[in-house]
């Protein structure tokens, strides 16, 4: 078992989920409530990573964050040398690639909240942000939890984007899925098996827990 890779994997999944919460919740709320006619295009962009090969997403990220890329030039202005082959780099790649797994359930959850409850809160003089915290969030948290779990579980097994953007640096960008690939390449099937089994077990446990929790909520 490559414990260093397991550590990187967990850190990557935790960071990815955290960042997705911060940018995904406002984006999803905007998508759920806007009447903006270009909404469909934004939704398509968010969903795109679901259908694109990870290598394509990784390739563009690599180009964009390189010294000639737009993002890369902005980052060097901010004092960041490079994102490629660093841990923040693979977090960025993982966030982009997991966007649909978080934003789509979040949006569906927000859309399922009865609009009139929001209006009732407004008519009671409650400001918009407070209405969001007191009404929308409590009523949509099962869907938000789904989004969190899906993106966490999915980024545990991230391979293509991480390999493209991060390469294979032990303790920095080498995740479990990459370690498994290496062991298989080295014909070290026993080691690969242990790590693969660990990933399967962990993902299964996380998903089961979520479904159990959701059942409980629905029953109440």
């Amino acid at each position: 078992m490559d414990w260093m890779a397991a550590g990187v994997t967990l850190r990557l999944a935790a960071w990815t989920t955290g960042v997705l919460l911060v940018i995904g919740l406002p984006l999803a709320y905007w998508l759920a409530t806007t009447r903006f006619p270009g909404r469909g295009v934004i939704e398509a962009l968010v969903t795109l990573p679901l259908v694109l090969p990870p290598t394509v997403v990784g390739f563009y990220l690599l180009v964009a964050t390189g010294p000639e890329g737009l993002l890369g030039r902005f980052l060097s202005l901010m004092g960041v040398d490079r994102l490629a082959f660093t841990f923040p780099g693979i977090v960025l790649g993982s966030v982009v690639f997991n966007l649909p797994f978080a934003v789509r359930p979040f949006t569906a959850a927000f859309e399922s909240v009865d609009r009139r409850l929001v209006e009732a809160a407004w008519c009671l003089g409650v400001p918009r942000w407070r209405t969001f915290w007191k009404v929308v969030l409590p009523l949509s948290w099962p869907g938000i939890l789904t989004g969190i779990v899906l993106s966490f579980a999915h980024s545990l097994g991230e391979f293509g984007v991480v390999l493209m953007v991060g390469g294979n640096i032990p303790g920095v960008t080498r995740t479990l899925s990459i370690a498994i690939y290496d062991e298989v390449q080295a014909l070290n099937y026993a080691a690969a098996d242990r790590m693969a089994l660990a990933l399967v077990g962990f993902a299964l446990a996380v998903l089961s827990l979520t479904y159990l929790l959701q059942r409980k909520v629905v029953r109440r």
Binding site: D114, R116, E119, C123, G125, V126
Partner: protein
């Protein structure tokens, strides 16, 4: 005198437009009824008043304060209008208890004040003992009262009611209709009520605006609109042709004797009897006879004469004077058989259950 002044147009991209204008005092209990079938635009007007929808032209003012003005593009958000909105199916927060629902708009108060206000409302709306229940554990009538309590808690300057009783079963609706008027009158809160139920309108309303397809067909004091509909269209929508003031003489065994004009009528006594009432009779409920009726189960037999006759679609509308103005709807066949002409004498028969008493 502080007044609510409304003159707005709301246009939709489909071409549908709603327009209405009225004014009402807001420094005392007063109710304007927006009356019409579903799709008439009455709920749209209410949502514009709340600030949930933005009109396309006109203005809304309360006292010296502007809520909406198309000329300047000014639109005050719902949070700052100081209104209470009771939604048709209540829109209670399902994840909060009754007490939390009622306290929801009281964030500006201290904890102790908030608790006192919640208890006041629980007592006023007869919700004691339900404070810790969730909305799903309440009956329809209880939910309705919680919705009302929640809207009243922050002491709104104007209460907006969207078909507040329509989701209730008959007996509950009957009881709440009377109580609703008492509560609003006790608190002195002005209200705008959306309904398609004439009984609700006449129990609660002072002025009524009859809407169809986004247009105002008639507006004015409720008894005037209901008893003298300007057009047959209005008469059909309100469905209540005779509305006359009366005085309850006495009540016995659930029946009330009412003096109306120079006639006396028997009616089912409402739960809380005012001595001053409006007597309401639908034209379809009036039977006409050419000769004095013999034994009949109908309690009201009135002699009078025909004042006017006009045909109305497949039916004939006969205006009578039986000691008070009474309208009957009969078929053209009946008109021929009875040889009805203006000035001729007829007897009108009305069952006691068809005479509705509305407190005035």
């Amino acid at each position: 005198m502080t007044r609510l002044e409304v003159d707005i147009v709301r246009r939709y991209r489909t071409g549908f437009a709603v327009a209405a204008a009225w004014s009402q005092p807001v420094d005392r209990f007063s109710v304007t009824v927006l009356f019409g079938a579903s799709g008439s635009g009455k709920t749209t007007l209410l949502r514009c008043l709340a600030g949930l929808e933005r009109p396309d032209a006109g203005y809304i003012r309360l006292g010296g304060e502007t809520w909406y003005d198309a000329a300047t593009g000014y639109h005050l958000p719902p949070q700052r209008r100081g209104i209470g909105f009771v939604f048709q199916d209540y829109a209670l927060f399902p994840h909060q208890t009754v007490a939390q629902n009622i306290a929801f708009g009281l964030g500006h108060l201290s904890k102790a004040e908030r608790q006192r206000r919640v208890e006041e409302l629980l007592a006023l709306l007869e919700l004691e003992g339900l404070a810790d229940r969730y909305p799903a554990q309440l009956s329809g009538g209880q939910q309705q009262r919680v919705a009302l309590a929640r809207a009243l808690a922050p002491r709104p300057r104007l209460l907006l009611l969207d078909e507040p009783l329509s989701a209730l079963d008959g007996p509950t609706r009957e009881v709440l209709r009377r109580k609703l008027r008492r509560w609003l009158a006790t608190l002195g809160i002005p209200a705008v009520l959306v309904t398609h139920d004439w009984l609700e309108a006449s129990t609660l309303g002072e002025q009524v605006i009859v809407l169809e397809a986004g247009h105002v067909l008639q507006q004015g004091p409720i008894e005037e609109v209901f008893s003298r509909p300007a057009t047959t269209q209005v008469a059909n929508i309100v469905g209540m042709e005779t509305v006359v003031p009366g005085e309850v003489l006495h009540v016995a065994g659930g029946l009330a004797q009412v003096a109306v004009g120079s006639a006396k009528l028997m009616a089912l006594a409402p739960e809380a009897v005012n001595s001053r009432v409006y007597v309401c009779i639908r034209a379809e409920e009036v039977t006409l006879l050419a000769a004095p009726p013999e034994a009949t189960s109908a309690r009201n037999r009135l002699q009078g004469h025909v004042v006017a006759i006009e045909s109305e679609g497949a039916l004939v509308r006969v205006a009578l004077d039986v000691g008070f103005p009474l309208v009957a709807l009969v078929t053209p066949h009946a008109r021929e058989e009875l040889r009805l002409e203006v000035g001729c004498t007829v007897w009108a028969v009305v069952k006691a259950t068809a005479v509705h008493l509305v407190p005035r």
